[in-house]
Symmetry: C2
Subunit: 225 residues, 2 copies
């Protein structure tokens, strides 16, 4: 009874629609709901233990985020991306992230940059051990974006990042590339520490380009149409 007697903390979502949104997004991004798969509202609502109302609200938001495509009277489908669309997304991401890193080089406080460094150390130390070795660990790029201190920019990058993550859902963890990515992250950070915005942007673009090429290679290997 007294478990939810907390005053309204901002950001806490105590609503089925809000929870469903996050659960669904997770199911799409981790592949539980595969690309091009049709979503059955009745089945899914029963699986989630809720009614169709809140579920539909969550789906609408996913549609607005571009993770799902809703065709009136015909159902909603998990979005699938072509190689061309993946390239477009990466190109957009490059534009956004290089801009972010230029801003960060100019305005970010030293402390925030240092935090990024220690985060990379942690990533490296926990890399040999567990299976949690992501080639593109989203944390680094997300934190990098936040250094630009421009919320709309961060939001735009979050959106693009989600679509990219879905687009390359097939290309699973590649521990070999993880080491390379970490090195490239360090180079970017080094330029950032030196307040060299252009250098950081160049390193970042190279990093993202090789990431795209890696994703494209995996994509074409999976379905060489």
């Amino acid at each position: 009874m007294s478990e939810q007697t907390r005053p309204p903390k901002l950001g806490r979502v105590a609503t089925y629609a809000g929870q469903s949104l996050e659960v669904l997004r997770g199911m799409i991004l981790d592949g539980t709901l595969a690309p091009a798969e049709r979503i059955n509202e009745v089945h899914l609502s029963q699986a989630l233990g809720i009614s169709r109302g809140p579920l539909r609200e969550a789906i609408q938001r996913l549609a607005s985020e571009g993770l799902v495509e809703a065709v009136p009277h015909r159902g909603v489908y998990v979005r699938s991306f072509s190689a061309r669309e993946l390239s477009d997304l990466y190109e957009l991401r490059v534009a956004l992230e290089t801009h972010a890193v230029r801003l960060a080089a100019r305005y970010a406080p030293q402390q925030r940059i240092d935090e990024l460094g220690s985060m990379l150390d942690e990533t490296e130390s926990s890399m040999g051990s567990a299976s949690g070795a992501y080639p593109e660990d989203p944390d680094f790029h997300a934190r990098l974006a936040r250094l630009a201190a421009n919320p709309p920019l961060v939001e735009a990058l979050t959106d693009v990042g989600r679509k990219i993550r879905l687009a390359r859902a097939r290309s699973a963890h590649q521990p070999r590339r993880a080491r390379t990515a970490l090195d490239e992250h360090r180079e970017i950070l080094a330029a950032l520490v030196a307040r060299d915005g252009e250098g950081a942007a160049a390193k970042l673009e190279a990093h993202l380009t090789s990431s795209l090429n890696n994703a494209l290679a995996v994509l074409r290997a999976a379905e060489p149409d």
Copy 2:
């Protein structure tokens, strides 16, 4: 694992939720629903002649677009922007649009560029007459963005453009600036015709900066707190 069907590609069939989305967006952008105003679901659904279900779905999408802020159990509010947020939005827009124009300078077919020119001619000829003289006519920038041939980029710019339009809802049409804007548009287009991506980007940035300054001035004049 799961059965995969192809997403139907057909056009849009009318649905209350979809119609409400567009109507609501219009009401927000033209000021019928003022910034910081609370939206009453019952009242609004009756005004639209529909039930709360489809209306709520539309609202969810508006929330995802950032035009509206939904606080669980407390209602949804039309989003209002501070001067700082407006600046952030413009900064993001500059990054996106300059990137778009660089792409356009490299890849856009001549014909599409020429179409932009004739569009400007039409704008000019219809400027002296009617009241439809927008200082920032969205068409030019939207069409410019499309020349980049990168759909996610266009989408991102659309999102930012909507927020900006809402943020500067108070600064109404200013016919004096309309003429200036048209001239600046022509300069951008001239650089584009010359395939001078950097030049076009520079002109564009200057244009957007003066647009921001104009908006900020109007904003501070309206509420100098």
